[in-house]
């Protein structure tokens, strides 16, 4: 056997397992498509079958997130109903098909990637806003998989007044809603504060806030304080829905500040940092990694 043939033989031997694995990967893809279909069916059945209040506390689906989303910090739904999530420190946005448990794409904000303490994300039409804890807003367009997108920065100058942890958009008033985790202003310390930052147009001041006394929000729940970790808007009612990771609380307020619901989050969640509600009333909660890996869980909302 010639040396060249020997070399080719060795290469072939070494590459065979990889090739086999690749073909096996195709098989896996087929298996995955079947699995995805099963998941979708399971979710539809789960949403349709149970309707008691006890059952509504149980997740209808839960997807374990990969390592780079261990500190998942915010979630939002686009206008066409797709779920976007982001981590805590890196400006990287991931789209997740929440119905089927598939990570669809990922794009990065900035070149190099934006770094910061990101706490919330929301979609306003085709534009996305990412909120840092110091009140800075990063505006950018949605990118395709692997793309790096440009961004613009808006400083709300509210970094001293508040440590922000949640972001949502209220189309009724054309304003971003910024949920305050720790209030800096003395006169508002006994309140649950949501700042409103009007995007464009309208009359009056661009910045306003909604302050709801904590005593009203806490009610009989026994929480000593309340530190909201995210906010969203119920598309069906227009109410604001907030979660607090520290107190494991779920709160629903009207835009006027009336408390509609105040109670604990499902027990199975450890450190809930993101909330979103779909147009077909699915409550999506994201849970940071702790004793268990990070995940997003789906519950019936109404």
């Amino acid at each position: 056997m010639s040396p060249m043939a020997v070399a080719v033989l060795v290469l072939a031997i070494l590459l065979t397992p990889i090739a086999c694995r690749a073909s096996n990967g195709n098989t896996t893809a087929l298996a995955d498509s079947a699995e995805v279909a099963q998941r979708e069916t399971r979710l539809e059945q789960a949403l349709a079958s149970h309707d008691s209040s006890a059952a509504s506390r149980a997740a209808v689906a839960r997807w374990v997130l990969p390592e780079h989303l261990a500190e998942i910090s915010g979630v939002t739904l686009t206008t066409d109903g797709r779920l976007l999530v982001h981590g805590d420190e890196k400006g990287q946005v991931t789209e997740i098909d929440y119905r089927r448990g598939v990570m669809v794409k990922q794009f990065t904000i900035g070149q190099p990637a934006l770094q910061g303490d990101f706490e919330g994300i929301t979609a306003v039409g085709d534009v996305l806003f990412l909120l840092a804890s110091n009140g800075r807003l990063y505006e950018f367009q949605e990118g395709v998989n692997g793309e790096r997108v440009d961004y613009a920065v808006h400083d709300t100058r509210l970094g001293r007044e508040c440590e922000f942890e949640g972001l949502a958009f209220d189309p009724a008033i054309g304003s971003l809603l910024l949920a305050c985790k720790s209030v800096g202003e003395k006169r508002l310390r006994d309140s649950l504060v949501i700042y409103r930052w009007r995007l464009q147009g309208g009359s009056g001041p661009r910045l306003s806030h909604l302050a709801v006394p904590l005593a009203r929000v806490i009610g009989s729940n026994g929480w000593k304080d309340l530190h909201p970790s995210d906010i969203t808007r119920d598309p069906a009612t227009g109410n604001y829905v907030l979660i607090a990771a520290q107190e494991k609380a779920l709160i629903e307020l009207t835009p006027a500040g009336d408390v509609v619901f105040s109670g604990p989050l499902p027990e199975s969640l450890e450190h809930t940092e993101g909330v979103a509600i779909t147009s077909d009333s699915i409550l999506i909660l994201s849970d940071e990694a702790g004793h268990r890996p990070a995940s997003i869980s789906l519950y019936r909302w109404r």
């Binding site: 040396p3 020997v6 060795v10 031997i13 070494l14 397992p17 086999c20 839960r62 598939v102 990570m103």
Partner: protein
Amino acid sequence: MDQEEPASHDQRLVAFSPVPKEGEYMRVIKRLIDVFTLGSARPMRRLVAYYIVLAAVLSLLVYASPIVDQMFSGERLAELEQAPQLLQDGLTPDPSGARAVALSARLELAISTALICFGTLALMLPVSWVYMSTKRTPGHNQSVVQALIILPLIVAGIILIVRNSLALAFSLAGVVSVLRFRTTLTDVRDIMFIFLGIAVGFAAGVQVLLVAVLLSVVFNFVLLLTWRYDFGRNVLQPTAASRWAAPLDELAQRHNGGKVPDRDLVLALTPKKAELLTERFKRVGASLGADDKKPRYNAVLTITTNQLTDSQIQVQGALDKVARRWKLDEVVTNDGKPSQLFYLVKLRKSAAPDEMLTAIRSGAGEMVQTATLEVGDAGARETLAKKNAAKDGGDG
């Protein structure tokens, strides 16, 4: 001189199993390596056997563990850019079981680091064998051999730590600048091996073991092939005849005009060495012929071939046609390299060296891998010296 070269090749083949004589534990390692390499002494076979065993182990690991598969395929490097990706169901256990195993980040890091270390070792071990086997000069630098094993581990470790962090990379540069690693490697090939070690370490560090495997395989086989066929040999390299002509002339002068007097030889030699030299020179003298005559042979023909018997027949047939006389001086067989035939040849006056080589090539065809002819000019120089001496005498 040329005839001694195959012997050194054989020594290098022994070095292919890097086992010193002493030490029981080293013998155990040698036996282990022999099991892996099927006990063959031929470098190419040992290398092939090693990689086959490695491929088998690799296949098992790839099928058994998704972590190994990811490291091998470079998925880690690409991270999540290969969308879409199926997420693990947190409510329903995965029926295949494999994906349901959610390893903690620490355990996964520990496993992947261990795999990188052992993978690097497994890939650099044959490189160190090839380094020891194919060293051109006798002996090899043990430090380089050890560096070939250890350096890639360090490089892989550094890359694992630095990853994509620009800050860590700058910190590393700062730390490294404090130290001095300067060393002088005498052979360019040593530097080449060190660079390969760094490349393999790099590939392993970024968890693209496939690249590391290919680097190791291709490098080893290319190096073995260049060694086997003596690729890049300088045709202008001084021949044995030209190298030994001057000192032997000095010794052969009958009168005391030479720079090496007999008294110095008496002091330098023992009776045994003098006897050995006498025997050697007698043998050479017998080959060259009687005194006061022209040497019986004035050229050495070296043939390298894998088909010894057939080539011998063909070459000797060609020699009958183009040489005035010839004699087979020695046949040297080598493990892992072609055999060599050495002929003493007296060229015809009318025949140029190129004609002889052409005749051999046309007769033996592809059976002969290389044919070199070294022509000595000792006879011509002696004749010229005699003429000059006669001329000087006439003038005087």
